[in-house]
């Protein structure tokens, strides 16, 4: 909204969601959480989704991350209809094309940093010899090259979140979806995370969608889409 969008017309949007709705609750009681949400995100773009708690931001991000099925709507990832894929196809999509950073910066608590970053590579079938350099590269990207063999539960909050970002990066996804990645961090750490995201989209073929309710953080994104009661504005 405020800053110019680096989208290039004619290119296929990385994310193209049309008319997404999501209802929770079985039989009688239907709670609409997303109402007719449409969104296009192009490569090299960084989009912020803001809004009050309970407005459906996480739900939208889960749907975009193929972690949750929408009730209706169309979702194309790089032009492919990914909602039509079976569970295996979606898993494949998650590990090759999507990187997810959870709100609670989930790490495997009883594993060390290396093991945490190794999982996505294992699931993607990366050979053991190739994993080490990939993990190191991702960790250096978030300036944590020296924390490779630390136990996850001994890291500080900022470090944990940066490890979570590194883990989302490690398979070189096209889209990174981050759910309040700075929610539990101080200003300095928050901006450090945003620096990493900026660097990632800087190459021009990756897109980042960040959910946040911090206006400071949102301003650093190329586009801000406020969400209210299941409706996404400013698309």
């Amino acid at each position: 909204m405020n800053s110019p969008t680096p989208k290039v017309s004619g290119r296929i949007p990385l994310i193209e969601a049309v008319g997404l709705t999501k209802h929770f609750g079985a039989d009688g009681s239907v709670i609409p959480v997303l109402r007719d949400v449409s969104l296009k995100v192009y490569p090299g773009e960084m989009v912020a989704v803001t809004g009050p708690s309970g407005s459906g931001k996480s739900t939208l991000l889960y749907i975009l991350g193929l972690l949750l099925k929408p009730t209706s709507g169309i979702y194309r990832l790089g032009g492919d209809d990914v909602l039509g894929l079976d569970r295996t196809g979606q898993a494949d999509c998650r590990r090759r094309r999507l990187g997810f950073v959870f709100q609670s910066c989930d790490l495997m608590e009883n594993s060390n940093v290396f093991e945490n970053l190794e999982f996505p590579l294992i699931y993607a079938g990366v050979s053991r010899a190739e994993r080490q350099p990939r993990v190191v590269a991702a960790m250096e990207r978030v300036n944590l090259g020296h924390r490779l063999y630390h136990q996850a539960n001994l890291l500080s909050g900022g470090e944990r979140q940066r490890v979570a970002v590194a883990r989302a990066l490690v398979n070189r996804p096209q889209v990174i979806l981050a759910d309040e990645p700075t929610g539990q961090l101080d200003r300095q750490n928050s901006h450090m995370i945003m620096d990493h995201f900026e660097e990632i989209v800087g190459n021009g073929d990756t897109a980042v969608v960040v959910v946040t309710h911090d206006p400071d953080i949102a301003r650093r994104c190329g586009r801000i889409c406020p969400m209210e009661d299941g409706v996404l504005h400013g698309v």
């Binding site: 996480s58 889960y62 949750l68 898993a91 998650r94 999982f119 294992i122 699931y123 993607a124 079938g125």
Partner: protein, 393 residues
């Protein structure tokens, strides 16, 4: 997912959560160890018990004798060597011993003593499990060479000598000098403490009149053989020399008692092993179910990182298998130790083949328990919806 990654991650996971699993590991390990020991050593231990006559009250010994007392007109009867040989060869018979009784007179320091002499063949000591309380029992050779030797019951020894340190002393029996080799032990309930024992051959040579070998002790291999052997004895005797007036005596009450105790002991041991194994099997199931429930977050996270359903399934199943197979291996090691211990204790080497069979069965059980108990929780884990798993823990 590659197999070596799968194994590495699963073993790591089980090891890191070892405090949650040790109960199950213990149950399976003990069950498998118990199973291996019981099956490998059970029959040997039973055999060993059957050798401990005093422990089982001599129930494996059958007495057969000719009772011609009631019928005064009858000829006195005795067992012929070929009959005894045939009895030796009956299935279930360990050994048989031929014996005769004869009252004798003895002189020591001009003092007359009258007592019963038991004229025994060379198998007697081992058939009855008698041993030397003092000195030695006369040997096989002494019997075969018709030596003038004797062994005394302890109360008889005290009656004659005033004490029972009598080995090496001499005793005049029926006008011949005999060397006393020792005092017989193990006679407590046999009523033979007042008797003297002499070689049957010597008695038949030296004692005036006939020493009739009218008594046979048949020792069965196990208490389970007794009934069949007792039934076969009259037929065998009949076939070789005629069985008129033949009496066959078995301590049926004691035998039934021993068999009952043995049955329950065996039953309890098997029950214990079975219960432990069941506990282990159910334990794996419970532990894996709990693991799936408490690790929903991990499952969701892994799915978000791109794990397919089958990756999750494989991981939980492998964890379950690691747990069960690891425990079984522990149990096999423990079982081997127990088998070595028992075989050292009873002095019988177990059959290596039987041990290997048990080892295989133990692993098979572990495999079945691991897959059987791990499958349902693993399928549940793999079907879990990602968001449900990551959001609502």
């Amino acid at each position: 997912m590659r197999l070596n990654d799968l194994l590495r991650i699963s073993v790591r996971q089980v090891f890191r959560h070892r405090r949650r699993y040790w109960g199950v590991v213990l149950a399976i390990a003990l069950g498998v160890a118990g199973f291996i020991t019981v099956v490998t050593m059970g029959s040997d231990v039973k055999k060993n018990f059957n050798q401990k006559l005093d422990l089982i009250g001599g129930v494996t010994i059958i007495r057969a004798y000719f009772d011609s007392e009631q019928d005064r007109t009858a000829r006195r009867l005795w067992f012929q060597p070929r009959t005894v040989a045939a009895l030796q060869n009956l299935p279930g018979v360990q050994e048989a011993s031929l014996v005769g009784f004869r009252p004798v007179g003895a002189v020591r320091h001009k003092q007359q003593h009258h007592f019963m002499a038991v004229a025994v063949d060379e198998n007697f000591w081992s058939v009855r499990s008698f041993w030397a309380r003092h000195g030695a029992l006369f040997s096989r050779e002494a019997v075969l060479h018709r030596e003038r030797v004797c062994a005394l019951g302890s109360s008889l020894a005290r009656k004659i000598y005033g004490h029972d340190q009598v080995a090496g002393l001499s005793l005049e029996i029926e006008h011949d000098n005999y060397l006393v080799t020792g005092v017989v032990g193990g006679l407590a309930d046999s009523g033979l403490a007042d008797f003297a024992f002499v070689p049957l051959t010597t008695a038949q040579d030296r004692f005036t009149g006939q020493t009739l070998a009218d008594r046979v002790y048949v020792r069965c291999r196990t208490w389970d053989d007794v009934a069949a052997v007792a039934e076969a004895i009259p037929k065998t005797v009949q076939a070789h020399q005629g069985a008129d007036h033949l009496m066959v005596h078995v301590s049926w009450d004691a035998l039934r008692h021993v068999q009952k105790v043995a049955f329950w002991l065996e039953f309890l041991v098997y029950l214990g092993v079975f219960a432990t194994l069941t506990l282990g099997g159910v334990g794996i199931w419970v532990v894996m179910m709990a693991a799936v429930r408490s690790r929903t977050r991990e499952i969701g996270l892994k799915k978000a990182m791109g794990a397919e359903d089958r990756d999750i399934l494989a991981q939980f199943l492998t964890e379950s298998l690691c747990l069960s197979l690891g425990s079984a291996l522990l149990g096999i090691g423990l079982g081997r130790l127990l088998v070595e211990g028992t075989s050292g204790w009873i002095g019988i080497r177990p059959s290596e083949e039987l041990f290997l069979t048990c080892l295989g069965l133990g692993l098979l059980f572990a495999l079945a328990a691991g897959v059987g108990a791990g499958l349902y929780p693993s399928v549940q884990a793999s079907r879990m919806e990602v968001v449900a798993a990551t959001r609502y823990e």
